[in-house]
């Protein structure tokens, strides 16, 4: 055996150990942390069906958009749709494809108070602006007619780090309160007029559970899994709706009528019956005409599976599945992606 033969043999051996098959398609993606649990589930389930290995790095929506724009990953994922400016900076046309829905809920901690507190958008906006500072404020008392709320000070808790959860929350508050829109605005991180910053859902929930008189916001999944009490929020039709898988899916169904072709739509404060108003899509971002057509074909097939069979995994993980009407529109959009 010559040296080069030995090296070759060693390399072949290593290749056999590492790569199970050369036919397997590798796809890399990066982005939002919020849908990471369902995406991980999908990628592992789909890997059992097809020779496709999808690697997903949950580095945050901002990071996902940056990496997609610089084409270091094949697909991105985001909780807030890309802005027109960001779309222009990308080297090609990018499609937004909603995958599942999430919701954000107000959580609170009032000592010696066991009841449920109802909220409306304007009242929540005033609390997070620091204008309503006591739990027995007349505006809160009016929503909760008959409930005896204490005169405790309100401590506001918000997310410290940039997050899709914050985006959904401030997007809703900006829609219902012009003052909130003007003073705070919509982004994954904002300049909060009042409050403490907790790190992550667990940080916010921890602070709320420990601080008497506090109010914060966390993802619905987080509140469900950790059995944290949260209040219903008044929707555009005037109903008080508790967040649930059904009321979040209803919000998406209500938005179908006005769905823009590129799916870049905010469904917070959507009109309709039984709609939970602080709901949002989360999107996967794909180039319409990617360089690697093999990957493109595999990815489109995966997306079709995720939007049909994959949806059944959503509810168990606390995400609301997409309504059929949205899936139909997306299937048509997927067919416009170049695969050869």
């Amino acid at each position: 055996m010559t040296v080069s033969q030995r090296v070759f043999a060693a390399l072949t051996g290593a290749a056999l150990l590492v790569g199970v098959s050369a036919a397997q398609t590798q796809i890399n993606g990066a982005g939002a942390t919020f849908p990471n649990p369902i995406y991980s589930k999908w990628f592992s389930e789909y890997g059992k069906l097809k020779q496709v290995a999808i690697n997903y790095q949950s580095i945050g929506s901002g990071g996902g958009i940056r990496q997609l724009t610089s084409q270091t990953v094949f697909f991105g994922a985001t909780d807030g749709p890309m802005t027109d400016e960001q779309m222009q900076q990308a080297p090609g046309r990018i499609l937004h494809l909603p995958t599942v829905l999430g919701a954000v809920v107000p959580v609170y901690n009032i000592p010696n108070f066991k009841g449920e507190i109802k909220f409306s958008g304007p009242v929540l906006a005033d609390i997070f602006l620091g204008k309503i500072t006591k739990w027995n404020d007349p505006a809160l008392a009016k929503l909760n007619g008959g409930t005896n709320l204490p005169s405790t000070d309100i401590s506001v808790v918000h997310r410290a780090e940039g997050s899709g959860t914050t985006y959904i929350w401030v997007d809703f508050l900006s829609k219902v309160s012009p003052e909130f829109k003007q003073k705070v605005g919509v982004n994954t991180s904002v300049k909060w007029p009042v409050g403490l910053g907790g790190k992550g859902n667990e940080g916010v929930a921890g602070l709320v559970q420990q601080t008497p008189g506090s109010i914060g916001y966390v993802e619905l999944i987080y509140a469900l899994q950790n059995k944290i009490a949260y209040g219903p929020v008044q929707n555009a039709d005037g109903e008080f709706v508790q967040a649930s898988i059904q009321s979040v899916t209803a919000a998406a169904a209500a938005a179908v009528k006005n769905m823009p072709k590129d799916f870049r739509v905010s469904i917070t404060n959507a009109p309709g019956k039984g709609v939970y108003p602080v709901s949002s899509f989360t999107w996967i971002l794909l180039y319409e005409n990617p360089k690697d057509k093999n990957q493109s074909k595999a990815m489109v097939e995966f997306m079709k599976w995720a939007l049909s069979d994959g949806q059944k995994f959503a509810a168990d993980l606390g995400y609301a599945p997409l309504p059929q009407e949205v899936v139909k529109l997306e299937m048509a959009a997927l067919n416009t992606i170049k695969v050869s």
Partner: protein, 318 residues
């Protein structure tokens, strides 16, 4: 024969020199890269970045002053708290501790240094913060008029951050200080005893001899406190405001970087965050240069009267 040795000597010198020079290159490269990547923010805000109080990602207005304040305030307070404790541990372990207790105690203090900072952070949220909150609630109202204790007792805030930083800094400072004290020649202490010094006076002599090393140990702790991220961000409250109050939630440079970097999508925002990194880098360089100067200043007179300290310490207390 001789020339081979000379060659080896030269090779050794060049080799180690090159490695040392790499370090300089790395520091310079970090500085260059930070400046290059923060061009947009540097051009737009200039020096105003250091003194502006507003950090608003939505409107694109960025100033780092609250973060600079939070970083320096928390680190200085943590150092004031940790310094004496760490020094006490070091003196006890090197001078007073019975031999059978020394190894387990040393092991325990060094174990503190090995705990990951996220663990400190979670411990902070779930154990330290509630304790701090009840302490803050129990503050007598006569103290509440002082600016250091203004504001509602929420638990998270400067005080929790300072306490957690102090706990994290103690093992670093104390183990270096202990090594430094152990390196003090026995002759120093023996000389003190020979002059009739008590144990405390002999320790003073040893401390005086080891002072540059001790300052170095303290500065090492300060550097660690300046850069600490995860544990601090979990308990400091993350609110960019400048306040003397220990009860107020504040923010540090390392914490804002860790919190906002992943979701920063637009260019100016990203550049502003990298400029925060640049500011932290510059401040760290200045702190280190300052401590070098301090040590250098302490050493100069000492070279003139090296044998004096033991006698001087005894004389001073006599």
């Amino acid at each position: 024969m001789n020339s081979i040795f000379k060659q080896r000597e030269l090779g050794f010198r060049l080799g180690t020199g090159a490695v040392a020079f790499c370090l300089v290159l790395i520091v310079a490269a970090i500085g260059y890269e930070l400046v290059r990547q923060s061009q947009l923010a540097l051009a737009k805000f200039g020096f105003g970045f250091w003194i502006n109080d507003i950090w608003d990602p939505v409107s694109g207005e960025f100033g780092a002053r609250p973060f600079i304040w939070g970083t320096l305030y928390s680190s200085v307070l943590a150092l004031l708290l940790a310094g004496p404790i760490a020094l006490g541990i070091a003196i006890f372990l090197s001078e007073l501790c019975p031999a059978w207790l020394r190894t387990p105690l040393t092991f325990l203090t060094e174990l503190l240094a090995a705990i990951p900072s996220i663990v400190y952070g979670l411990w902070g949220i779930f154990v330290l913060v509630p304790i701090v909150r009840s302490l803050e609630s129990a503050l007598p109202s006569s103290l509440k008029v002082l600016p250091f204790f203004a504001g509602p007792p929420v638990g998270v805030g400067m005080l929790s951050a300072v306490l957690i930083l102090a706990i994290m800094v103690i093992p670093f400072t104390s183990s270096v200080a202990r090594e430094v004290l152990r390196a003090v020649p026995m002759a120093q202490r023996e000389a003190a005893y020979a002059l009739g010094a008590t144990k405390w006076e002999a320790i003073q002599a040893a401390l005086f001899y080891a002072r540059t090393g001790i300052v170095g140990a303290v500065m090492l702790g300060f550097g660690r406190a300046l850069g600490e991220t995860m544990a601090v961000t979990m308990v400091i409250g993350n609110n960019p405001q400048i306040s003397l109050s220990l009860l107020a939630p504040q923010y540090t440079m390392a914490a804002v970087l860790a919190n906002e970097f992943t979701e920063a999508a637009d260019e100016l925002y990203l550049d502003a965050l990298i400029e925060v990194g640049l500011v932290l880098f510059i401040i760290t360089l200045f702190v280190n240069a300052g401590s070098r100067l301090l040590i250098w200043n302490m050493n100069r007179p000492a070279t003139v009267r090296k044998p004096v300290p033991a006698a001087a310490a005894v004389g001073a207390s006599a």
